[in-house]
Symmetry: D2
Subunit: 333 residues, 4 copies
């Protein structure tokens, strides 16, 4: 039973704690917060030991806290760093001092761990490492749809426009309210980040931010290197891990209905751990394949994190780990 | 075991079917749809017998449908009418022809049933009736907070501004995108509708529609007829049925964090069956009491409908019914 | 010809500079910026001398800047402080050192000037003062509709719910995207602020923030102290200064159509300097008067600022000033 | 002096009437409405003769109307059809019966006129025709940026993702409020529509709809057929007609600041007749050129319509017409 710490019990952290708790071979050693808010209350209700992420937090949390993050780390085998973007890199020394393995999130740079992880692509290379970075939600989504195509047909140039949510549902201080905000640097960082996981794959990305909270949406257009029909492509994705095909013809016409689907499936927090691919958008014209996909920014990386933990801690091989993760969570395989 | 039909398996209908399914003393006889969309698929996956709500639907649903709504009704003891606003009144003949009890939703006029229902206020009067109308989400929310005050202190004039969501999450064709839309007729229909349930209570309401999908929010200001302190009021609400006090100081600062709370509580579809009252907004100045409350438009009427069914079918008394409903769903009492 | 400085050429400042420029008896001595952005470019195109609001700004603006804010102030008779909320109070010493009159905006506290101004209410009291604070857009709007009623009929308790915009159109970093955010402290500061201008008027306000950028909307309900019919009230407002009656029956159904009206009137920046009152919402029930009004947060205080300048500098009496201001801008009287 | 009718005085129609009114060689013969709303009031205030677009409108408009649309047409030389999408095609017989030239909008199919117009591309081919269709705002925007590149360098495959506004500011009944809605058919109709104007140009388009009202935004990526540097491209666009380069570095970071720019330029209705190109987004990598552009859906087609009228009525050659149009409106050339 491996003991896993969650440093930062927020959007990603609370999902990872619940996901660890659902696994047969790991348990939550504790979670951290900086303030005594409703998420801290939730940690207590769930029975997770609560620690203070910062010195100020130790005072703010008062009796709620069992101790400091340092005290938590020494009792743990691995830590999920779920601190806000940019703080993760600053925490590295903390984890190294505690002598435990660390999994970082995609907001941190590749160099924080020297290794960017996706379960389907490079699990084996992660085995036994001290640290790994699970790539961001957008990059994870792109790896999920692209890697099976690379293996089946070969893929040339990929162009993707990322239509990004402005903030998560609970981030009410984030905008925009009524604007489309392009990332003027082209390509955006998302495309090149894919090559950190799938070396040699050339993904050219442009990104815009829009006034929505639910999901990101990708408009993808790519060159297939060998001849494939639309149904060949759909067949490949049918068996691709953590990919869910959805049907506009059944009324799944937007990111909102995708989330409604998550609600109707009675998913916890309506999480969509799978990449959602609109099958009626899949279009092959000559060697060009185009399609739309939806990425649930709050949850798509959850299963990847669990697998990364098993790889670092040498707990299982890729097949066993991903099957165990998916069964425990209820991921559509 | 009473057999309950759900006519219209949409936003309210799918929740009512699941709620019926969770009760020990009733079961879903079948549900209806007009089109073969993802909600029809859901009905099938859940194991609910699917019927066609309309003749066109019978063709559209094809093999998915067990038959027509008429065929469903004759096998049922009671029907929840969950058809779009205005259609319910047109369905009345259908239910009368089938000779079964009917529960209508608040979008229909009072006259459709001649009786407007709220479990805490007038359960006993509904016992044995042929039909009842569960008042709308906004009216239900107002009854929840106001009735206990009426009983404890007496209530004079009530002023409420309803800040309404533009559409439900899945209703992507509804606006506004960037506007505040007042209902120019004053008072709006919501206030007078409360008096259909609590006779003599004078609620003056003004309503605006805003670009959000999550919840309605009410700004309430009223006169207490007997002296009461802030803590007297909070004490009354502490034991009021289906009322949940929430705390801005713990980070529940908006309707978005309220829904995040529903997600973190792992509620199905993050439903908030309770009226949410911001306890740190509760202010007493002289005889004036002011506060904010949040209403989850998709789910707040679910427990009321279940109780209405028990009342019409004379299955239980008020106390037994509400306790059974709440235990089965997991409502905070 | 009085020389007027505008310290902060942003949302309010650029409007005030253009408004000064349009008056026959004052001119723009210069405007300030902190950064060389498109608004700085605009100042140059308009022919306004540009100064640096801060030391860092002096470097950033480079050749665009004529000098420092201190250099601007000594060449001016009065300054409009249009710096971000809270900075105005810190600038007071600067203006006192330069020995010039200062007009502050409503984001600053009453104490910054010791006097809160509205042209129709207390112009005469401002004459010859060193400083005045023009009350905020919301308070200005409330003074516009309420003061004529106070004078005509007497006004008892006033209840208002302010439905506020989340940010101005250009403030793309502000939210919320999808939430209703109540100000949990009741009453909100807006109501009591009216009493700073109209002593003794008791305005009880509750405020919520919503995902829109265009305007604020107020739901107002008040007690008339002497009997008045709906048409009596409309008559009073017909001659009230800077009040515009709009008609839902002609399709002005929301804040969006109000702004469309400003566009169709070919207003600069579609500014609505007038308070917009929905005449078909005006309802009298007994002694209670209820109505909706819209406040254009970017521009409603512009004419008040110009009048405040004339009062402080003893340039004109109230009637001459307001008529001159309104004629120069094109305000509906 | 050519007499121009505007059939449909709404979003496009009111702009075209004002644009005609500003030209030295044409005048407004009349405009039509179906209902007596604020836009009908505006027509009267502007001094445009108002006619009823429909028989029901004749009754609704009452004394406001001078007569029927048929009466207007016989007194006119040309009509701008600005009726809602799809109605234009049904009006064709009306215009043919009156024996006058007709300009349709881009919501109508190419076949309605048999000719799709853009002033810079095919003015000469339109001379003397009975009818032309000015292509939609999105297609017009694409023609503006692409045609100069075709002429200067040659252009191979073009990929564009159109991020579309959900509705115009005044269309408060349109959504989505919180969703990204992909057009599942790929390619969307926008790309192929470009080839109706620039034969042989292969534009592959994917479209999504988002919760904003201000502008469309295009993410464009294309192959240049001859070698060109970034500055070569910017030079070509510098002299391209009706193209405006904007600068993220000066704070124009989104469609909202673009509209703020239109406001600060004191444009009527803040209209942006020019295509807005983000110069700091322009990126050349090998033979691939990528960039973002913004399209003001309410106004970009206005100058094209005026030129189309001159072409059909053989009033001027291309150079004279476009210069006259642009000078009269104040378009940046």
């Amino acid at each position: 039973m491996k003991r896993i710490a969650v440093n930062g019990f927020g959007t990603i952290g609370k999902r990872l704690a619940d996901a660890v708790d659902a696994q047969p071979d790991m348990e939550v050693s504790g979670v951290t917060k900086t303030r005594p808010n409703y998420e801290a209350d939730l940690a207590v209700e769930r029975g997770y030991d609560l620690y203070a992420a910062t010195e100020a937090g130790l005072e703010g949390l008062g009796d709620m806290a069992e101790g400091s993050v340092e005290e938590l780390l020494v009792e743990s085998d691995l830590v999920f760093d779920c601190s806000p973007t940019g703080i993760g890199a600053r925490n590295r020394g903390l984890y190294e001092d505690a002598g435990i393995a660390a999994v970082y999130q995609g907001g941190e740079p590749h160099d924080v761990a020297g290794f960017s992880f996706n379960a389907a692509v490079n699990f084996d290379e992660a085995v036994g490492r001290d640290a790994a970075r699970v790539v961001s939600c957008n990059t994870t989504g792109l790896c999920r749809s692209l890697f099976p195509l690379v293996e089946a047909f070969g893929v040339g140039d990929v162009s993707v426009t990322l239509v990004r949510r402005g903030g998560d549902p609970k981030q009410t201080d984030r905008g925009p309210i009524n604007a489309i905000v392009p990332s003027l640097g082209i390509p955006s960082h998302h495309g090149p980040d894919v090559a950190k996981v799938i070396p040699g794959l050339d993904v050219h990305s442009m990104a815009v931010k829009v006034p929505t909270t639910l999901m990101h949406l990708h408009a993808v257009s790519l060159q297939l290197e060998s001849r494939a029909s639309r149904s060949d492509v759909l067949d490949v994705w049918e068996t691709a891990p953590r990919v869910m095909q959805v049907d506009g013809g059944r009324g799944i016409g937007s990111t909102a209905e995708l989330c409604e689907l998550g609600r109707d499936m009675l998913r916890p927090r309506y999480d969509l751990w799978e990449l959602a691919l609109w099958k009626d958008s899949v279009t092959v014209e000559g060697d060009r394949l185009s399609f739309f996909q939806g990425v649930h920014q709050e949850s798509i990386v959850v299963p990847e994190n669990i697998d990364a933990a098993r790889a670092l801690l040498e707990m299982a091989d890729s097949e066993y780990s991903t099957r165990t993760t998916d069964d425990a969570l209820g991921v559509i395989r």
